[in-house]
Amino acid sequence: MTGYIIRRLGQALIVILGVILFTFILAQLIPGGEAKAVLGPKATPTTIALFNRRNGLDLSIYDQFWHYIEGIFFHFDLGYSYKYNQGVTQVILERLPKTLTLVTASVVLALVIAIPLGILQVVRRNKPIDYAVTSASFFFYAMPDFLVGTLLIIYFSFDLKIFPSSPPTTATAWSVFTDPRAFALPIITLCVTSIASFSRYMRSSMMDAMAEDYIRTARAKGASSNRVLYGHALRNALIPILTLLGLSLPAIVSGALIVENVFNYPGMGLLTVQSAFNDDIPVVLGTTLVITIATVIGSLVADILYAVADPRIRLGNG
């Protein structure tokens, strides 16, 4: 298993380096260069030259890339936001925990709901409840996050006045424990699509497990149907869900961007969109890089858990 984890770490590192190279290339592709984006269209050649000189943009492309990597790894320096007048890292660090809270809470909630739902469908397969859940998951899969969020706001916030339409501006990442009501709607919105896809996968994974030989063996030995279901099938069916979780993370994080904008939740997604409107390219590239690194680490954790859970990898040389 150690071999597997080392290999997996190496892959994650390659991906992170690749993403850094990619954001660097994107910054190079800004029409007119970064100077023009910061100084505006009226900048004279002299001021542009001065800006380039100060920011090391007159160096060769290799030197620039080296400075970029060095800045990221040794100084956590992602550039400077001229709109916020502070380093991009500081701007992002305020927002990152809030997005992580949102994503973690909704992944946990999605698993807690989707796994029993998938099991229920297998137990009652080809019965009305199975068809109902299947249709619902198709429907919610096609439903855009922002529509779900908007409808939830209209019903639960404007009409019924049960939940606020956005968390208070003073809320920190920890407020999810002290004031869970304020976070309810964003979290529910974000996990709707995940529940739709996880429960479908859980159903099929459980069905596959039920068709295995060891289930027949367990039945033949006289194990009760509950024991077969939860003791044998469920434990095996859960393993692929971990893989799915790792693979779904980028999509869930994308969903968080939308949800943050629907509910005015001050995380990375709202920051990215606001910066896009302000043409604050260093922040947009910075958030993209940081959120990707966070996603890669999340998937890495899911894969390592997968290795721990699956005895074929845990005990093998893998």
Partner: protein, 332 residues
């Protein structure tokens, strides 16, 4: 689905690619749990009877026929509709002067008016044109590019394959909306750029799928035979590998149209969609949502229903296509 020994969930051994049609920044489509259809065989195109059988299997699926009807309806609605029911959708001045803003349905405006006084029924057609064109065009660009990329990667193998697939892995790990917004910020929006930008984030999945398919196709006897006869690599890719992967490609492209429409709707919702004076469904919904507190339901529900219907319809059509191709495989 129990993974084989040494199953590596992230990087791409052939096994993982063909049995898990997923590895992406995308959610696992509910229908995609069935393995992807892999039409096989030497002949490049299906004969007439196969086509007839495919049509029969497709038309037995009532949901798919209804979905196809919905797709055709919306295409007619958006492109023929404005000729049958002409409304002013471009002249903001005239709209402000000639009609009430935010008027409820009725009085010559069957679905009311929006915050600029535009007739919403007419605007649904007008915005739908952009949504459908961008959705179809970007899915097409993404599928073509992804197919070529995947076929080249799988066919040549070796270090080129590793390099090309690492690039795909890297881009797939960036959450798609963040990538889209970064691209849209740098290249300011126009309809053509939106098509290219959405295609840029969507070609990765077909590239992987087609690579997996190519890896299995290139060892088939008929490909070996062409090679022995001295057929060029270009000929093998163009005449044998891509035509035989066409089932996977068509099914993917259908799903991708739905996804592209959703991506454009999301961009529109964030205010980064088709620039004014044009519009798209996402932008319309975004404007409606901003006024949600005022109870202008006619600015939210009709356009929301349009998006959901079209997306579900394309998903069901894709599902049925996959089923009909699979039957072709089984009955051979």
């Amino acid at each position: 689905m129990t993974p084989p020994d040494g199953f590596d969930p992230v990087f791409n051994d052939v096994e993982a690619e063909t049995s898990l049609p997923i590895g992406s920044g995308e959610f696992i489509r509910p229908g995609s749990l069935v393995d992807e259809a892999v039409p096989e065989g030497g002949e490049a195109f299906s004969s007439g009877s196969n086509l007839r059988r495919m049509t029969r299997v497709f038309s037995e699926n009532k949901l798919a026929v209804v979905s196809l009807g919905i797709v055709i309806f919306f295409v007619l609605f958006c492109f023929v509709g404005p000729h049958v029911y002409p409304t002013n959708q471009t002249d903001a001045q005239a709209a402000l002067q000639n009609s009430t803003q935010n008027a409820p349905p009725g009085n010559g405006n069957p679905l009311g008016t929006d915050e600029n006084g535009f007739n919403i029924l007419g605007r649904l057609m007008f915005g739908g044109q952009a949504s459908l064109i961008v959705g179809l065009a970007s899915a097409l660009v993404a599928t073509i590019f992804g197919t070529l990329y995947g076929a080249i990667s799988g066919f040549f193998g070796g270090w080129l394959d590793s390099l090309l697939m690492r690039i795909v892995d890297i881009l797939l790990s960036v959450p798609v909306l963040f990538l889209l917004i970064a691209l849209v910020t740098i290249y300011h929006q126009s309809e053509v750029l939106l098509i290219l930008v959405i295609a840029f984030v969507s070609w990765l999945v077909p590239a992987r799928l087609i690579r997996g398919e190519t890896l299995s196709l290139r060892t088939r006897e008929y490909v070996q035979a062409v090679r022995v006869m001295g057929g060029s690599r270009g000929r093998i890719i163009n005449r044998h590998i891509i035509p035989n992967a066409v089932g996977t490609i068509v099914v993917f492209a259908t799903f991708q149209v739905a996804d592209s429409i959703l991506l454009l709707a999301a961009l529109g919702f964030l205010g980064l969609g088709v620039p004014a004076p044009n519009t798209d469904w996402g932008t319309m919904l975004s404007n409606g949502v901003q006024a949600a507190g005022n109870g202008y339901w006619w600015q939210i529900y009709p356009v929301g229903i349009c998006i959901v219907l079209v997306v579900i319809a394309f998903n069901y059509v894709g599902d049925a296509l996959r089923d009909s191709l699979e039957v072709r495989l089984q009955q051979r």
